[in-house]
């Protein structure tokens, strides 16, 4: 026993010494987050405490780096997932692990990875904790740069589906050439040319066995995309076209017609001014590694929504989510700064932001085959409007201690289509927002927000007030009240009062809140999840190292 023990001890010493030597040049980084909620039942707002009273969820990331070698794990725990998160997240497990070797232009990953081709129209694998979204790939990825300016990517694997992988196999290749970088290998002056062009192409294919007893479903579905990005002086044009072969799925109503998408962004910008005009066409681009999947499950691609991403509380009441089965949208946006010491700029300058977008259905022929689906007319808008917004914002610093902004937003929101509700109102809303910052001294600050939403539809008018006191660099103390004062039912004219304290130190942040949270749609990047009303104590800890 004693011999055994000393041998073991000796082994440990040796291994830890050599291990330590390897680790001499190594680095370990990571991050943690814990989110929790203690519930109270509040039947007035439709918030019901689950039987367990408290939900806790969290993750930990660990990354190990040694020169060209990287390895990492991600552990997630949901006991249970907080109300509003997908309850299929339940339990604790290492959900993500990978090893990567990246040297001399060759980058190989085995295990889990995230990847995006172009704008993501046919392939995007990513993760967003606040949305509860993770479609990480589990397989192999290779990125190769044979020479400056050329990048080739290959990826294959299955997608994460909660605690397992989805049934379909996803494989894809992407090639991109930056003409200027490539030609600068031969002639240096190419890298400083005013005209810069980047071209790219990708192909993605998914495989899923056909178990349908009645239909003959395609087991392999191919999609491709072509893109070109051009910069010339202050102008730019970004474009991507995608095509998907027939892919009957639950999401598109099991129709056989192929899908396509076009995404265009053009712009002009130089110091003090920025202007963009964008357009997007989507026809039948629901693309998942399980044809039966719905909601946000097992999406292979990402269809960015065009309308402005709103951040103020009442402006997030009516957010737009991309309609993958068909939409035609356009947007124009202007940022302009009146420089300081000009007539309209005043002493500190004045910032103006303007944007407007519109989303319509797509035009389809009425004579349709049930099996093929409605034939659509490329780049022709349909009659039904899904969404429209106009945003005007002005920001101004008034004195060294005082600055503010005012905003007006007009929104049209087709609740039937966007939320998939039948017989809901088509909402027209006007939103006004005023925000002020007042600096008491170098570290103490007061911020206030006043928001008002006017609409004759849905739950009618809302008002919101917020006050935040911050002490740099550690403390934020916030209180806000959302009040649905216009609600037709007097019982539902409710104050959603909330208080929140945040303590930030270094790369750590602790927050504790108490109050009532209204039901709503939380959207990030055009992907949305429904959040029910809740009441109680919330807390969150996040930390990076």
């Amino acid at each position: 026993m004693r011999i055994k023990f000393s041998l073991l001890y000796f082994l440990i010493l040796i291994s830890s010494a050599s291990f330590a030597q390897v680790l001499q040049n190594s680095q370990i980084n990571g991050s943690f987050q814990i989110d929790g909620q203690y519930y109270q039942t509040d039947s007035a707002i439709g918030a019901y405490a689950p039987a367990q009273d408290i939900d806790l969820m969290g993750f930990g990331n660990l990354t190990f780096t040694n020169g060209p070698f990287t390895a990492g794990v991600r552990y997630e725990s949901y006991n249970n997932a907080i109300v509003g998160y997908d309850q299929r997240y339940n339990g604790s497990e290492i959900v993500h692990r990978y090893a990567q070797y990246n040297n001399d232009g060759l980058d190989i990953t085995i295990g889990n990875f995230y990847e995006q081709f172009g704008n993501g129209l046919i392939f995007r694998s990513y993760q967003d904790w606040s949305l509860g979204y993770d479609n990480a790939m589990d397989g192999i990825r290779v990125v190769f740069e044979p020479t400056k300016g050329i990048r080739l990517k290959g990826a294959y694997g299955k997608q994460r589906f909660f605690y397992e992988n989805g049934p379909g196999i996803v494989r894809g290749i992407d090639g991109e050439i930056s003409i200027n970088d490539f030609l600068s290998n031969y002639k240096e002056s190419w890298s400083s040319k005013k005209l810069k062009t980047v071209l790219g192409a990708s192909v993605v294919s998914k495989y899923q066995k056909d178990n349908d007893p009645l239909r003959k479903l395609p087991e392999n579905v191919l999609a491709y995309a072509l893109r070109a990005n051009i910069n010339y002086n202050d102008f730019f044009l970004l474009s991507e076209y995608a095509y998907k072969y027939n892919d009957p799925s639950t999401g598109n109503g099991l129709i056989y017609k192929p899908g396509n998408a076009l995404y265009l962004v053009s712009g002009y910008s130089k110091k003090g001014i920025g202007l963009t005009v964008s357009g997007k066409w989507i026809d039948n681009m629901n693309f998942r590694s399980d044809r039966a999947a719905v909601l946000n499950d097992l999406s292979i691609n990402f269809l960015p929504a065009l309308p402005k991403e709103q951040t103020y509380r009442l402006a997030t009441l009516y957010p737009y989510g991309t309609q993958s089965n068909g939409e035609f949208s356009g947007k124009a946006e202007l940022y302009y700064r009146f420089q300081p010491k000009t007539k309209l700029g005043g002493k500190y300058g004045t910032q103006i932001n303007l944007s407007s977008s519109m989303v319509q259905s797509i035009d389809t022929d009425s004579a349709t085959s049930k099996e093929f689906g409605p034939k659509s007319n490329f780049l022709t808008p349909g009659d039904e409007r899904y969404f429209r917004d106009v945003n005007f914002e002005i920001e101004k610093k008034i004195s060294p201690n005082f600055k503010g902004s005012a905003q007006y937003i007009y929104t049209e929101y087709n609740k039937n289509v966007i939320e998939g509700k039948v017989g809901a109102d088509y909402v027209y809303a006007h939103i006004n927002i005023i925000e002020f910052y007042y600096k008491i001294n170098t570290t103490h600050n007061i911020r206030t927000e006043l928001q008002h939403l006017f609409t004759d539809q849905d739950k009618k008018n809302w008002v919101m007030a917020l006050i935040e006191y911050s002490i740099a660099p550690h403390w934020f103390i916030t209180a806000y009240d959302e009040y649905n004062y216009g609600n037709e039912k007097s019982k539902e004219r409710i104050h959603y009062l909330n208080g929140n304290i945040v303590y930030a130190f270094g790369s750590n942040r602790i927050s504790i809140g108490y109050g009532k949270l209204r039901a709503g749609l939380l959207c990030v990047g055009g992907v949305c999840r429904v959040v029910p009303a809740s009441s109680g104590l919330t807390f969150s800890i996040t930390s990076s190292f």
């Binding site: 440990i12 980058d107 002009y268 003090g272 600050n445 002490i471 930030a504 270094g506």
Partner: protein, 169 residues
Amino acid sequence: MKKLIIFVLFLSFSFISFAQESESFQMPSITLKDMDGNTINTSELKNDGKPLIISFWATWCKPCVNELSTIAENYSDWQDETGVKLIAISIDNSRTSNNVKPFVNGKSWDYEVLLDVNGDFKRAMNVNTVPHTFLFDGNMKLLNQHTSYAPGDEIKLYEKVKSAAVSSK
């Protein structure tokens, strides 16, 4: 046995932290694009022996935009006095990333901006939320990280930049 493994791990971890004391940060190697479409590898981010700030932000993140706007007011003074450089990493996805250049120009910011469209660099740097700011000295030693922004944070940050500029010399 389990205890022993833990012990060994603990031992090696202490070696790592010992090793890390004096060493410069190993910047992850991620390929990103700048606003003009030029390709840049993050392992090459540096500021020629002067302090470097790397700030993660997004066009839709109000505190981030506030922080960068506030620093922008004094950025040329900061550069003159300390030689500091700020690289702003936009984590906007393809919904808003195409709008970053007009946004930055519209605000008259002078920062180098890189587009982390699928969050690869964000994940590699273990950034959970934005804003998240890293400060490196001239030898790329990580001096400070900070998450969230309260008005006045920029003053504390600049104090650290100044002492980093002195110690980097």
